[in-house]
Every structure is written in C-alpha cells, then in structure tokens.
C-alpha cells in the first residue's frame, strides 16, 4: 500500500528555489500496475526518486506499507530500498564483466542472505523474469539489451520487494524488445501479484499498465483506470 499526501519538492540552488513537485497526492494498492506519465520537466523523475526512497520530499508524507518514509535519514532510507523496493533503470546498470547470476545476487549480499540461499533465489528470480537458463552464467557484456533488462528485472525482484519501480525501462531498447520487457512486467503483475510503478513519457508504454497517473508541472493532471476499455 502506497499513500502519497500532498508532496512538495523544492530544489534549492543558492537563493533560487525550483519547485519540482507542487502537491501530489495518490494511493496505490498492493498488486496494482501503475504508469506515471508526463513530459520531461513534469516532475516524474523527482516523484520516482521519492517513491524509491532515494530522496525525501520537502513537505508532505509518503507512507510505504504503513511506514512514513518522508522523514527518514539516509541509513533508514537505504534499509527501505534494500527491503521494500526493486529498481529497474533505463540504463540497466548491471555490474560490468559480471555474470547474470551474480548481478541478481547483489541485493542479497547487502541483505545479508546466506550465500547458499542466494544462488537459489537468484535463479528463481531470473526464471520469473524470463531469462533462459543457458544465459545465467553469461557475463553482462555478453548479453543482448533485452536479456540485460530481464537480468535487471530479476535483480529488482530478488528481494521480494513491496514495490517494483521501473524508470523508462524500455528507453534504451528497440520497440520489439521493449514490448517483450513490458509483457514481462504485465506477467509479473498478473501472475505473481507484484505492485509495479512504471515511469515513462511514452503513451504506448504507459498503456500496458492498468492505471495511468499523468503529471504536468509538478501536479497530477489525470488519474485514469479505464484507458484499456476505450
């Protein structure tokens, strides 16, 4: 359960303040697949950073699984990221020259999961993300873009997070591969009940979600659930 109440974020540079978010509120229930849309400068990246516990709002509250994340310090935020959130980035951000399996195991290292269990969990997660078994021991630089993003999705899944945050996950992929990745998200949502927030500026990408929250100039301008019926 995610509850965002009247979030404002102001970036202060010297004496000049820039208001990236001007009072954003919404609720996302467990198991929802939501897209956050908006043109660049709309504040969607800022919102993603706050939802992902990478940053805290200037004012407003953010409850994740009943805990107010907006007032936590850096180490507490790191714990939230470790236990509750899985990230999928546009730029993939896999460790270079490292096997798929090891990349997926990395969050388990910080979660201090016993080494024997890591391999098992990582493999499960890679299967769920749809990577063929034969690529598990391939180095990250030997994989294709689609495969890399599947590894990244598996990494986001591995800690069993409350929320998967995908920031333009198809931005660096061709449309066909992008489609496969988006189908993977849909499958994870429908079949495994994962809560997924997809940040994108493309409507074609956003329409894969069940609900679209549109941002403009730091405000929510629409919140629709019925786009698929149209």
């Amino acid at each position: 359960m995610i509850e965002v109440n009247n979030i404002v974020k102001i970036y202060q540079t010297g004496s000049i303040g820039f208001q990236a978010l001007s009072g954003v509120s919404f609720k996302i229930k467990d198991g929802e697949f939501v897209a956050i849309m908006g043109p660049s400068g709309s504040g969607k990246s800022t919102l993603m950073h706050i939802l992902g516990a990478l940053d805290t709002p200037t004012t407003g509250t953010y409850f994740l699984d009943g805990r107010d994340v907006s007032t936590l310090n850096e180490d507490e935020l790191a714990d939230i990221r470790k236990n509750k959130i899985g990230f999928v980035f546009q730029a993939f951000n896999l460790l270079p020259r490292t096997t798929a399996l090891r990349n997926v195991s990395l969050p388990l290292v910080y979660a201090e999961i016993a080494p024997e269990e890591r391999g098992k969990k990582a493999k499960e997660s890679l299967r769920a993300a749809g990577l063929d078994e034969e690529y598990f021991d391939h180095l990250s630089n030997q994989l294709s873009g689609g495969q890399i993003q599947r590894v990244a999705i598996a990494r986001a899944l591995v800690n069993n997070p409350a929320l998967i945050l995908a920031d333009e996950p198809t931005g660096n992929l061709d449309s066909k591969t992008g489609e496969i990745v988006l189908q993977t998200f849909e499958k994870l949502n429908k079949e495994r009940g994962r809560t997924i927030i997809l940040i994108t500026h493309e409507h074609d990408v956003a329409k894969h979600a069940d609900r679209i929250i549109s941002l403009k100039d730091g405000l929510v301008i629409s919140d629709t659930k019925d786009h698929k019926k149209r």
Binding site: F89, N93, L106, V109, Y110
Partner: protein
C-alpha cells in the same frame, strides 16, 4: 554486508583490472622492500662497527693529540696533524698512573709497500711490544716487535693478513711472508711475524696494516718525536673514570696547561667512542630509512590516485549499490578494504623481496646487513596504515556520492 562478501567484492574488483592493480601494488612493494633493505644495511653497519670497536681491546683509554671535543674517533684518521704527545708523556703516564696496566704508543701513516712486483698502499703503525696486549692482537706466526727492536731502531715488520695476500698473492700463507724482505716507502724491512685476522671492513679494516717499531716510524717516516696516539689498558673497568682523570691531570701538568678546556690532547675511553659511533650509525639508519620512506609515501600516493580513479570510473556502480540498499558505511568499508588489500599484499611481497635483497647483499659481501623482526613488523603495519590513510579519502568520496546523481553519471 558481511566481511567475507566485502573481501569477495574486493577480489573481483581488483582482478578486473590486473595491470593497474599490479602496478599500484608494485609501488608499495618497492617502498616496503627498500625500507627493509636500507634499515638492514644501516643496522648491519652498526653491528659491524660496534664489533670491530669492541675487538680493539678492553678497558682501553685512548689519548690523541689536539682538542677533539666531538667525535674524536672519526677525526682520528687525521691524527698527527696536531703534534703534542711525545714518548716522554707516554712513559710518564705508564710510570705515574698506577691503574695503567699496559701502555703502547702509536705513530701512524700511510705508505707504499712493495714486495717484488706487488705493491699496496697501506697503514703503517709504528708501535711498541705492548700493542698486542692493549689492542687484543694475536700473532699467527713469527713474533711481534720486541723492546729490543725498539731500542735498536731495527727495521722489523709484522704484517696484517690482508697485507700478506696483497703482497704475496691470494694463496699465500703466513709462512710464505716470514723472513722475506719488503720495501716500505723505499726502505727495506724484514718480515718477522704475521698477525691473525681481526675483521672489520673499509676504513675500519684492522687487517690491512703493517706494524713496525715506533722509533723507526719517528726516525724514518715522520721525522719528529711526536706520537699519533697513546693507548692505555687499565687494570679494571671500575678504574676507568679515575684513570681518565689521572691521565688528564698528569698530561695537563706535563704540558703546563692550567685550564682543562685548553687541553691540547683528548682522552677518550672505548665506551665514549662506542656511543658516539653508535649515534652516528643510528643517524645513518634513520637517514636511509627516511629516504626509503619517501618511496613508500610515493607508493601510498599511487594507491590514492588509483582509488580516486576507481571511484570515478565506478560512480554508476556506486549509485546502483546505494539504490539496492548499500549504506554509506558499506561503501566506505568496501573501498577502504580495496585500498588496504592493495597495500597489505604489497607489504607482504615487499617484506619478502626486502629480506631476499638484504640476504643477497650480505651473501655477495657488499655490506653487512641485519634484518630485524621489528623492521619487518613495522613495514607490514605501515603498509596497512598507508592503505587506511590513502584509501580513506577516496572511500569517503565514494560513500558521499548522491545515489541519484551517481546513477545518472556518464
């Protein structure tokens, strides 16, 4: 994050760029090994100098001409430049200071020595029959100079073992030399004895020396009545201080000097000389160690440079690690561990290399070396400390990175 995981991450990170890792470690290896070698050379020198001073005799008082207030021993090679001591002084001391067991005068100089085709330039020590007692000299074959030789001013020579090999060939034994006639400064001398080896190296070599009656030295070489040194053996170590005082006051009255600070001679005992030499060689050790320490510092800067490069290169990785839950202290610890592993492994290799080089230097007789356990321990501790000191700043820089900016870093 657990320690074993940190070490595994470190191993993977360091082995991903082997050339850079290797070169950085090399900097530390050179630093640590040169510290160990330099200190071992310094300590080896200290050891051999002390041993050779101790071998010159026990309960020894040395009287040298001139007022050499500091480090008289090192200035002794210039002995004879000041002329104030005579055999009358020496005899007066021997007869009037009761604690003096033996007295021996010395007149030193360097001259060319020739035997057939071979020649050498060596130290010619004009002395008396009591020299072996005072200076712990043993005769290998033949006899030492007798009091008769001194009274008759006879040209008899006792050779040090180095001189024997220099003049009679490397295979020559003492018996080859005895009875032969050699030329010292174009004058013929008969070899009456050969001394046993005493050791010492370089300017301290006590084997590269010829002993002749001091009367001969005075008459034919220096041409005056002065002595370069008077050595006294005191009957008991407890009497050293009183003997030193007695000798000083006797010589002051013989030379008609009222103010002791104006004395034209210096009385030193072996302990003084030993301590002044020790302080010189300790300074030498520190100096050598400090020079080597500079290379260690340079190696440390190399570590810091590499770690800063690594942090910049791996900015996105750091951002990712933070995004998946790494805390600032996890990142600090990871990069610090990398630096310490680099320096520590460099330190271990450096210790081995240093010990091997020190051993080699000794084995090939270049210098006496002595690797102390303390210097090894210190080198290892210093290398680990360098890792922490020079790794801390880059590690902190990595830990402070903002994850959002780090993830966006191109």
């Amino acid at each position: 994050m657990k320690l074993t995981d940190t070490l595994e991450e470190t191993f993977i990170a360091l082995s991903s760029n082997k050339a850079r890792t290797g070169l950085t470690i090399l900097g530390i290896v050179i630093g640590i090994s040169s510290v160990i070698v330099m200190v071992s050379v310094g300590q080896g020198a200290t050891g051999s100098i002390q041993a050779s001073i101790e071998s010159t005799g026990s309960n020894l008082l040395m009287i040298t001409p001139g007022a050499l207030r500091n480090f008289g021993y090192s200035a002794r090679s210039a002995g004879g430049t000041a002329q104030s001591l005579t055999i009358d002084d020496a005899n007066a001391i021997a007869s009037q200071v009761s604690s003096v067991q033996y007295m021996t005068p010395e007149v030193t100089g360097r001259y060319q020595v020739v035997y057939k085709g071979n020649n050498t330039n060596t130290s010619i020590m004009g002395t008396s029959d009591t020299y072996p007692e005072v200076r712990n000299l043993s005769i290998d074959q033949g006899v030492f100079i007798t009091s008769q030789d001194i009274n008759n001013v006879s040209k008899a020579a006792v050779l040090g073992p180095t001189v024997v090999t220099d003049l009679f060939g490397t295979d020559a034994t003492a018996s080859d030399a005895i009875g032969q006639t050699i030329k010292i400064n174009k004058m013929e001398f008969k070899v009456v004895g050969v001394a046993k080896a005493k050791g010492g190296t370089g300017f301290m070599n006590q084997d590269d020396r010829i002993y002749i009656p001091y009367t001969v030295s005075q008459r034919y070489f220096s041409g005056n009545k002065y002595l370069s040194e008077i050595d006294l053996q005191i009957s008991s170590p407890n009497l050293m201080t009183s003997a030193q005082n007695d000798v000083t006051s006797l010589l002051l009255s013989l030379h008609n000097i009222a103010d002791p600070t104006l004395a034209d001679f210096t009385v030193q005992n072996q302990a003084d000389i030993l301590s002044s030499i020790s302080s010189i060689s300790q300074t030498l050790t520190i100096l050598l160690g400090a020079i080597a320490g500079i290379s260690l510092l340079v190696g440390g800067i190399g570590i810091m440079n590499m770690m800063l490069t690594t942090v910049t290169e791996r900015t996105r990785e750091i951002g990712l690690r933070k995004a998946i839950g790494a805390k600032a202290k996890d990142i600090t610890f990871q990069f610090l561990t990398e630096a310490v592993v680099l320096t520590f492994s460099g330190g271990i290799v450096g210790v081995f290399l240093g010990c091997i080089i020190s051993w080699g230097v000794k084995y090939f007789n270049l210098y006496q070396t002595k690797v102390s356990f303390l210097s090894v321990l210190l080198a290892v501790a210093v290398s680990a400390a360098i890792g922490i000191i020079f790794g801390y700043y880059p590690a902190k820089r990595a830990a402070k990175l903002n994850p959002i900016e780090a993830l966006r870093y191109e």
